[in-house]
């Protein structure tokens, strides 16, 4: 047995080598390059000027504010709605698979196409939503051109698709809970809400950790709906940091500014994920 172990010692590392190489080339190297670029001048010397200019720019602070506001609203909404959807499709009745499919369908449409469709539906002139409001005798709403509504509309567009995705992970977690636990709870007289908050939710801790971290990362980096539907407006109300980084790179050709923005985003996401991990990690399981 010991002899076989010695012979195969390097095999696991060899097997994961391609993945490690890909991570290094396509993830680690671009991150390091971006960080370096943020601290580099045009003649490749170390400088803090890029960050000084960025912090003196009101557009940056507005983008940071919009990004935090967007995520504070969208993350809880998506997690709660996804959880409710997962509870619905976890019910054991005939034909539930149909509902699972229907609920998952939004995620099968690409984000770009779904944004364009929603943009048409929310159009102030002839969108179907405003048409329905007109039938009810209400005034049309500028969902994408009124700064009171634009960010909420983007949240709606993103969540319509995103909740379908996160629902599947939570559903997988629910399926992993032994039904004997629920039976015991029922015998002990536990009601629906008691079971939910004292059994189901705590037993999904690892699922919550994954969904929370992945959801946070995805939403902090999201900018396609803002680019397509509102172009960061109206009045900068949907101009998130990632879109500002995108414009810096591809519209302004200002790579140092883009590098600074993505580095700041990276730090924010890492901090938030670290905090989430600290609070959510199942300490008992690691003992």
């Amino acid at each position: 047995m010991g002899g076989i172990y010695i012979k195969n010692k390097w095999l696991p590392y060899l097997l994961i080598l391609p993945t490690i190489l890909m991570i290094c080339i396509f993830k680690i190297y671009p991150i390091i390059d971006s960080v370096i670029q943020g601290f580099s001048s045009a003649d490749s010397n170390f400088t803090l000027d890029n960050y000084k200019l960025l912090f003196a720019d009101k557009t940056f602070w507005n983008s940071l504010k919009v990004t935090l506001k967007f995520n504070i609203i969208i993350i809880p909404i998506q997690i709660i709605v996804s959880f409710i959807m997962a509870l619905f499709v976890n019910v054991k009745i005939r034909g539930i698979e149909v509902f699972r499919t229907v609920f998952y369908l939004p995620f099968c449409i690409s984000l770009t196409i779904s944004t364009v469709i929603w943009q048409m539906m929310l159009n102030v002139n002839n969108g179907v939503i405003n048409s329905m409001l007109g039938v009810l005798g209400l005034k049309p709403i500028g969902f994408l051109i009124d700064k009171k509504w634009a960010l909420l509309s983007i949240i709606l567009i993103s969540s319509w698709r995103g909740c379908a995705y996160w629902m599947m992970f939570i559903l997988a977690g629910l399926k992993g809970i032994d039904s004997a636990v629920y039976e015991s709870a029922k015998i002990d007289g536990s009601g629906f809400f008691n079971t939910m908050f004292r059994i189901t939710i705590p037993l999904l801790k690892n699922t919550w950790l994954f969904v929370l971290v992945a959801n946070t990362t995805a939403n902090f980096l999201l900018f396609a709906p803002m680019q397509i539907a509102t172009d960061g407006g109206p009045q900068g109300s949907t101009n998130v940091l990632m879109y500002e980084a995108y414009k810096s790179a591809f519209k302004y050709s200002n790579r140092p500014r883009q590098a600074c923005l993505v580095t700041i985003l990276l730090i924010i996401v890492m901090l938030i994920c670290f905090v989430q991990n600290r609070f959510m990690t199942d300490k008992e399981a690691h003992r």
Partner: protein, 444 residues
């Protein structure tokens, strides 16, 4: 067990080797013809790739087909044209050029980006491909707009101007006639707004028909909208090209934007349609009056009759009439492997038979002096083009010349759109000043 180990090791080696080869492929920019969409030169047949804007059969994608076919028939060179939306083209050029991509040869360059692309090394200097006689075939303004720091980087396919177009069929239905006017006695913006208001009252009193009274073809874009401020005496940018302070936060700009905001608030101009959609609304017979380019009549998709006249002026500013100008240019990708063939194609499209066909199909104002003279001297030339030629020569105000036009257009496009959607005018302009000045701080 041994066999499994060998297979596992073989698989790992193959994956690692495959990844390395994939990572190296194309990075030196010399991939040619590998996917059928790149420039190539194999034996006697040459294919060059042209990236441009204007998707769809009604856009450049459709209308340039005869020109490309004619060029291939004459020269044997196949043009592989790739079209993007207006906004996407800038990002595509930036992504490909910044990466040193050689998979395209010719690019359509918006005139405002010639200085930026030239100074960034994206464009090949064209002086070696065009003789002084050829350069002199264009009017000086058009030629100079393709020059940056004494180097010619791009060749003009045409210039542009703006006229007042109106849907004669709808106006006749509303019983409205456009008053007589000419270059020295123009309609005012205020008069046109009033005519549009009357028209809407007759045709669409409850707003349920979706008619628009008076609007701008390239709404919320500096190309189109800045002419309102220019028509009140406003400039586009500071003399050094790096500031908006003291330029846009001035009375002409405030007055122009306030007038435009009122036009929208009164329900005469629209909200919610972008520049890609507004032209389509006019083409479909849904707009009474529109400030638009000379390609407007040829783009009609309904049978309504189109009328046209000189661009309006503001009351009290009759001697400050301003129209937008400038258009698309052709440039050669500095990393192209087919520069000679690319230059030949550009000559065909900007000076040769291709340009004749282009002007015929698209209805744009020519940059070529011989074509301008043809319009002016030909009694059979359309009145539309005569007006256009007059405006291009007499009232054209070039857009801001600055190497940071991306930041400029972002700040001001947003300001126009915000004002359109009800934001405070002075606040929007001050925000644009702050935003642009912060963006250009790195360049000062």
């Amino acid at each position: 067990m041994k066999l499994k180990k060998i297979m596992a090791l073989t698989l790992v080696t193959a994956m690692t080797a495959g990844m390395s080869l994939t990572g190296c492929g194309g990075s030196d920019g010399k991939d040619s013809g590998s996917d059928g969409g790149t420039s190539s030169d194999s034996g006697d047949s040459v294919t060059i790739k042209w990236i441009s804007q204007g998707t769809g059969e009604d856009g450049w994608e459709g209308i340039t087909k005869p020109i490309l076919e004619a060029y291939e028939e004459e020269t044997g060179v196949h043009i592989n044209a790739e079209f993007y939306t207006f906004n996407d083209l800038f990002e595509v050029i930036e992504t490909k050029s910044a990466a040193g991509d050689a998979d395209f040869d010719v690019m359509s360059v918006d005139v405002t980006y010639v200085s930026k692309y030239g100074s960034s090394g994206y464009l090949e200097p064209l002086d070696q491909y065009f003789s002084d006689e050829e350069k002199a075939e264009w009017d000086d303004a058009s030629y100079q707009a393709g020059v940056w720091e004494d180097t010619m980087y791009a060749a003009p396919e045409n210039t542009s101007t703006q006229e007042l177009y109106y849907n004669k069929t709808l106006l006749d239905k509303a019983g409205i006639s456009v008053p007589e006017n000419d270059a020295d006695n123009r309609l005012t913006y205020e008069e046109v707004a009033e005519l549009a208001k009357q028209g809407l009252k007759k045709l669409d009193p409850d707003g349920s028909q979706g008619y628009i009274g008076f609007d701008f073809q390239q709404v919320s874009r500096v190309y189109q909208m800045n002419m309102l401020a220019n028509s009140m005496g406003g400039k586009n940018i500071s003399d050094d090209g790096y500031s908006l302070d003291g330029v846009v936060n001035t009375k002409p700009w405030i007055d122009a934007m306030t007038w435009y905001q009122k036009l929208v608030d009164d329900g005469i101009a629209s909200r919610g349609y972008d520049a890609d959609q507004l032209g389509d609304q006019f083409s479909a017979g849904k707009v009474l009056f529109m400030i638009g380019g000379t390609w407007t009549p040829s783009n009609m998709t309904c049978d309504d009759e189109v009328g046209y006249t000189y661009a309006p002026c503001f009351e009290g500013h009759e001697d400050e009439v301003a129209t937008s100008t400038g258009s698309w240019y052709f440039g050669i990708n500095s990393k192209s492997n087919n520069k000679d063939a690319a230059a030949d194609f550009i000559k065909y499209f900007t000076l040769g038979k291709g340009n004749d066909m282009w002007l015929e199909i698209n209805g744009d104002v020519p940059s070529r002096i011989d074509k301008q003279d043809e319009i002016a001297n030909n009694p059979d030339a359309s009145e539309d083009m005569k007006i256009a030629a007059y405006e291009a020569a007499n009232t054209a105000v070039p857009r801001a010349v600055t190497p940071v036009f991306g930041e400029y257009s972002t700040a001001l496009d947003q300001a126009w759109e915000d004002v359109r959607n009800g934001a405070d005018v002075e606040e929007s302009l001050n925000n644009a000043v702050e935003q642009f000045d912060a963006a250009t701080a790195a360049y000062k």
